[in-house]
C-alpha cells in the first residue's frame, strides 16, 4: 500500500503530508476533553493514517477529508468528548475562515497549512518564523495598541503575507504592512521611532548608555561605532551580499564575519620590512630612515602603522619579525635600553577600548633577539605605566626546536610561562617546518555552522552531512567572491581607510595585494556536529568517533581548497574560535526548535567554538590534547586552548615541559593556556 505523501490545501496547492500535524490536532481535541494522553494521541493518529492510506491510495486527500477522517476515528474509537471538541473547533475555524474570505476573498491559514513564513530581521542578524502571537504582543507592549486590536492586526498581517505567497519577507515589510493595517483601523500609534533605523529601541538604548567599565561613563564613540555597525550590517545583508548568502547568514547556516564593517579586512600582518620599505600605512617619506636609526623610533613607526592598519581590519593586527628587527638595532644596547624599547613597543601598539588587541610574535633565537623577547615579556607582566592588560598586544612566542636549546631561550619560555601563571594572555605558536610565510592579509571569513547541518541530516548520515557541507562551502565562496568584488570597488574609489592600503601611492607598491590575500572558511561546533552524527561528543567517543571528526575536517579542507580554485580565491580552512560566533549560531538554532535544543544542550549558551572538546568535559589534559591536536593538521589556523588550575601547573617548569611535549610529539598549530 502506498503511504499518503501529499495533502491538498484549500486553495488547491499540495504540500507534504505530516503525520505530526494530525497527532497535534488529535492531542488538542483530547486536551479540550480533559485528557493529556500523548500515547493515545499517537495511536489514534496512526489509525487515522492507516485509514487514509486505505481510502486514498490513488489520490491526494484534501484537508477537509483528513479532518472528516479524524472526526470519524475519534467517534469510532469511543472518544466522544474529544470528537465533540474537534467538531466544535472545526466549526469555529470554518466560521472564522468564511468571515475572512468574505473580506479578502482568499483562503486563510488552516490547521494543515504548514508553509513556514520566515521573517528576515537584518538588524538582529537572524531570521525567525513569523509568529502572529509575537507580533500581537509587541504591538500591544511596544506600540500601546489594545490587545484585541493587536490580535486582529497581527492576524490580518499574516493573511496579507500568506496571500502574497512569499516564503520569506524582510522585517521592514512586516513593519510597513502593520502600519497600514493600523491606519486602516484608524488606530493612532507612533511607530515612527520603532521604524527609524529598524534597530530595536532597546538595542539603541543599550548602545547609547553602555559603560566602558563598571561605574565609568558611557563612551559616545563606542556607541556611535556600535550603532554604525548595526546599520551597516543591515545594509550588507540586504544589499551587498548575494541573497542566498544573506539568507544563510540569517538562518544561522553560516556566519559572515565583519558585516558591521563590510569594507574592512579580517586580519593583517605587519612586518618591519613594511616600515623600512615605506609601504606601511601611516609612514611619511622620512619614516624608513627614522625607523632604522633606533629601537625607539622603530617602535613608534610600528605603533603608527598598527593604528592605521587597525582601523581597516576587524580582528587585530599581527606584528611579525619583531625580535629580529629590534635585535638588529640592539647590537650594543644596554639592558635598560632594550627594556625601554620593549616597553615603548607595547605602549605604541596598545589597542583602543573596544578594539581587538594586536599580537606580537616573539622568536627567541638566541642573542639580542632572545633578550628583546624576554624584555617584552617582563614589561608585559609588570605593566608599569602601560594601559590595561586587555588592550596590550598579546605576546605570541614562536617555538621551534631551538626554543628549548640554549639556556637563554629556555629563560624566555619560563618568563612566558610565568606570565601565564600570573593570568596574562600569552600564545605559543609552533613552527615545525621551515618558517611559514602565510599571506599578510586575511581578507574575510565565513564560518560554517556544523551542528545545524548535522542536525538536519540526522544520526549516522556522515555522507549526507558532507554533502550539506558542500552546499555551505559553495555559499561561503559566493559570499567571498561578492566581498572581493566590493573591496576592489573600494580600492578604485577615492578616500576611505582602505583605498590607500589597496592602491599604494607616490610610486610605492600597495601595502595590501588583494589577489594574494586569503579568504578563510571557518568551522565551529565540530564537537556538537559529531555528537549529532555519532551520538557521542568528541571526548566521549572511541576511535571511530574521532575518525568521523578527522574525516570531516580533512574533507572540508580539500573541499574548501577546491572550491577556492574554482572561483580563483585563495582559501584556507580554519577553526573559528570566536565564542561570540558560537553563541550566535547556538541562539539561532535554539530559536528554531526551543524544546529539542534545550533538551540536547542543557545549561549551555553556545556551541563549543572551533574544533575543541567541550570546555566542561570531564577529561584530563592529555585526553583533550589527543582528541584535538590531530585535527590541526588539516587546518590552517587553530589553537589548542588548555584551561588549567595554577596548582596543576606547579611552576613555569611544568608548563615548559608540556610545551616541549606538544612541540615534539603532536601537531598542534598553536596553544593558549588559560589559568582559572
Amino acid at each position: 500500500m502506498r503511504r499518503v505523501a501529499l495533502v491538498r490545501l484549500r486553495d488547491g496547492e499540495t504540500v507534504p503530508f505530516e503525520q505530526h500535524r494530525v497527532r497535534d490536532a488529535i492531542l488538542g481535541a483530547l486536551l479540550a476533553a480533559g485528557s493529556d494522553d500523548r500515547r493515545l494521541a499517537d495511536e489514534i493518529a496512526a489509525v487515522v493514517e492507516l485509514f487514509l492510506e486505505k481510502t486514498f491510495f490513488d489520490e491526494i486527500p484534501g484537508i477537509e477529508q483528513i479532518e472528516d477522517m479524524v472526526e470519524k476515528v475519534l467517534v469510532d474509537t469511543g472518544h466522544a468528548a474529544a470528537a465533540k471538541a474537534f467538531i466544535l473547533h472545526r466549526d469555529r475555524r470554518r466560521r472564522l475562515r468564511e468571515a475572512r474570505d468574505a473580506r479578502h476573498e482568499q483562503f486563510a491559514p488552516t490547521l494543515f497549512d504548514n508553509r513556514v513564513l520566515r521573517i528576515d530581521d537584518a538588524a538582529s542578524g537572524r531570521s525567525t518564523p513569523f509568529s502572529r502571537a509575537r507580533l500581537a504582543r509587541s504591538l500591544s507592549s511596544d506600540g500601546g495598541v489594545p490587545r484585541e486590536v493587536a490580535d486582529d492586526v497581527a492576524a490580518d498581517v499574516e493573511v496579507r503575507l500568506r496571500n502574497a505567497a512569499v516564503q520569506r519577507a524582510p522585517a521592514s515589510l512586516v513593519h510597513a504592512i502593520t502600519e497600514v493595517e493600523l491606519l486602516d483601523r484608524a488606530t493612532p500609534v507612533d511607530l515612527r521611532r520603532r521604524a527609524a533605523a529598524l534597530i530595536p529601541g532597546q538595542d539603541l538604548a543599550a548602545a547609547v548608555y553602555r559603560r566602558s567599565r563598571e561605574g565609568g561613563a558611557p563612551v559616545p564613540a563606542v556607541a556611535s561605532r556600535e550603532l554604525g555597525a548595526a546599520a551597516l550590517r543591515c545594509h550588507a545583508l540586504s544589499d551587498l551580499l548575494p541573497a542566498d548568502v544573506a539568507r544563510a547568514h540569517l538562518d544561522g547556516e553560516l556566519h559572515v564575519h565583519g558585516l558591521g564593517s563590510p569594507t574592512s579586512l579580517d586580519a593583517a600582518t605587519l612586518r618591519p620590512d613594511d616600515i623600512v620599505s615605506g609601504v606601511a600605512p601611516g609612514s611619511g617619506p622620512r619614516a624608513p630612515a627614522e625607523a632604522a636609526r633606533s629601537g625607539r623610533r622603530l617602535a613608534s613607526a610600528l605603533g603608527r602603522a598598527t593604528r592605521h592598519l587597525g582601523a581597516a581590519v576587524v580582528c587585530g593586527v599581527r606584528l611579525r619579525g619583531m625580535t629580529e628587527a629590534f635585535a638588529a638595532l640592539h647590537t650594543d644596547a644596554s639592558r635598560d635600553e632594550v627594556a625601554e624599547d620593549a616597553w615603548q613597543l607595547l605602549l605604541e601598539t596598545a589597542a583602543d577600548p573596544g578594539d581587538d588587541p594586536a599580537e606580537i610574535d616573539l622568536t627567541p633565537r638566541g642573542g639580542a633577539a632572545t633578550e628583546f623577547a624576554a624584555a617584552l615579556l617582563r614589561a608585559h607582566a609588570r605593566r608599569d605605566g602601560l594601559p590595561a592588560r586587555e588592550l596590550l598586544a598579546v605576546p605570541t612566542v614562536v617555538l621551534g626546536d631551538a626554543a628549548f636549546g640554549d639556556a637563554e631561550s629556555r629563560e624566555v619560555l619560563r618568563l612566558a610561562a610565568d606570565a601565564v601563571l600570573r593570568g596574562a594572555r600569552v600564545r605559543f605558536q609552533f613552527e615545525r617546518d621551515a618558517p611559514s610565510s602565510p599571506s599578510a592579509v586575511r581578507a574575510g571569513r565565513i564560518t560554517l555552522n556544523l551542528p545545524q547541518a548535522a542536525r538536519r541530516v540526522g544520526r549516522g548520515n556522515v555522507e549526507g552531512f558532507l554533502r550539506a557541507c558542500d552546499a555551505l562551502v559553495d555559499t561561503a565562496m559566493a559570499g567571498h567572491v561578492a566581498r572581493r568584488e566590493l573591496l576592489s570597488q573600494v580600492a578604485g574609489a577615492p578616500g576611505g581607510t582602505l583605498a590607500p592600503l589597496l592602491r599604494g601611492g607616490r610610486g610605492r607598491r600597495p601595502f595590501i595585494d588583494l589577489s594574494a590575500a586569503t579568504w578563510s572558511v571557518g568551522i565551529t561546533g565540530l564537537n556538537e556536529a559529531v555528537a549529532h552524527l555519532s551520538g557521542f561528543e568528541l571526548h566521549e567517543g572511541d576511535e571511530d568517533v574521532l575518525r568521523v571528526a578527522r574525516r570531516i575536517v580533512s574533507y572540508l579542507s580539500l573541499r574548501v581548497k577546491e572550491a577556492g580554485l574554482a572561483v580563483d580565491v585563495r582559501t584556507t580552512l580554519d577553526a573559528d574560535e570566536s565564542a561570540d560566533v558560537a553563541a550566535r549560531l547556538f541562539a539561532v538554532d535554539g530559536a528554531e526548535e526551543p524544546g529539542d535544543h534545550s533538551d540536547a544542550y542543557p545549561e549551555r549558551e553556545a556551541y563549543t567554538p572551533g574544533v575543541a572538546v567541550r570546555e566542561t568535559a570531564p577529561v584530563d589534559l592529555l585526553d583533550r590534547v589527543e582528541c584535538e591536536e590531530p585535527l590541526h593538521a588539516s587546518l590552517s589556523a587553530a589553537t589548542l586552548r588548555l584551561r588549567l588550575e595554577p596548582e596543576d601547573l606547579g611552576g613555569p617548569d611544568g608548563l615548559v615541559a608540556l610545551l616541549r611535549k606538544l612541540l615534539r610529539t603532536g601537531t598542534p598549530r598553536a596553544v593558549e593556556i588559560v589559568t582559572w
Partner: protein, 245 residues
C-alpha cells in the same frame, strides 16, 4: 626451592597526567597503598593504612593506560604511601621501564635498604625524598610515628652519593618545623643538588618567610626553590644566574 616472585604492590590510584609531580616533566603518578608514618599534615591519609578494604586498581589496567599515553609522557612517578615498603617495587619499576618510560620514586626515607637496592639497580632515574624535620626528637612529632633517625640519615647519604637526579622536599609544619628548623634541615643536606621548600597546603608561612629560608640556607645546596612558584633559585648554582623577579 624455587623462590616465588613477590606480589605486585597494591595500586590505589593513578593520576594519568601531572605537571607537578616531577618538576619539568610531563608525568603520570602511580599511588601505592600503605605507609609506616602517620604525618599530621599528610595530604593523602587514605593511602596510609596498609590494607584498604575497597580494593585496588588492577596493575594491568594502569599499565595499559600508561602504554596508551606513553608518547605524551616523560616518565612515571611512583609515590605512596611509602613505596619502599613493598617487596614488589623493583618489579614494578622494571615493567614501567619496559614501557620506555623513566621512573621517579617518592619516598619518606625510612627504608634505606630498599632505597639502596632500587637506586643501585640504576632503573630509577630520579628520587624525591621528603625530610619532615631536623634529625632530632621533633621528627617523631612531624611524622606521627616512631622513627629510626639513623635510617633517614642513611637514606639521605645514599641519595647524596648516588650519581642520579634527586630532590629533597622540606615542608613547613606549624609549631614543629618552623622556618628555623627548615634552615637546619637544609644545612644537613649540604651538597644536595636540589631542595624544594614546601609551604603548608594553605600557603603558610607565606612566600616571604620561605624566601628568607632560601636566602639564609640556600647556598649550602646547588639549587633551592619554592614549590610551585615562578622560578626563583636560592641555591649556589641558581644565584649565579639572572633571575626574574
Amino acid at each position: 626451592m624455587v623462590r616465588r616472585p613477590p606480589p605486585p604492590p597494591p595500586l590505589r590510584g593513578l593520576e594519568s597526567v601531572s605537571l607537578t609531580a616531577w618538576e619539568g616533566r610531563v608525568a603520570a603518578v602511580l599511588q601505592l597503598q600503605g605507609c609506616n608514618f602517620k604525618c599530621p599534615a599528610c595530604v593523602v591519609p587514605h593511602l596510609v593504612p596498609q590494607v584498604f578494604e575497597g580494593g585496588t586498581i588492577p596493575l594491568e589496567s594502569a599499565l595499559d593506560t600508561l602504554y596508551r599515553r606513553r608518547r605524551w609522557l616523560d616518565g612515571v612517578v611512583i609515590a605512596g604511601g611509602e613505596p619502599t615498603l613493598h617487596e614488589g617495587l623493583r618489579d614494578l619499576v622494571r615493567v614501567v621501564r619496559e614501557l620506555g618510560l623513566r621512573v621517579r620514586l617518592h619516598t619518606n626515607g625510612s627504608n634505606p635498604d630498599a632505597l639502596r637496592a632500587v637506586v643501585e639497580s640504576g632503573e630509577v632515574s630520579s628520587v624525591a625524598m621528603t625530610i619532615r624535620a631536623p634529625l632530632d626528637p621533633t621528627y617523631a612529632v612531624a611524622v606521627g610515628a616512631r622513627v629510626r633517625l639513623a635510617a633517614v640519615y642513611e637514606s639521605v647519604e645514599i641519595l647524596l652519593r648516588a650519581p642520579g637526579e634527586h630532590e629533597f622536599r622540606v615542608p613547613w609544619l606549624p609549631q614543629v618545623v618552623e622556618t628555623e628548623q627548615m634552615v637546619s634541615v637544609i644545612r644537613m643536606l649540604a651538597g644536595a643538588r636540589r631542595v624544594v621548600l614546601e609551604p603548608a597546603p594553605d600557603g603558610s608561612p607565606g612566600r616571604r618567610a620561605l624566601q628568607q629560608v632560601g636566602r639564609t640556607a640556600g647556598a649550602y645546596v646547588d639549587s633551592c626553590v619554592l614549590a610551585g612558584r615562578p622560578a626563583q633559585d636560592f641555591g649556589a648554582r641558581g644565584r649565579s644566574r639572572s633571575v626574574p623577579s
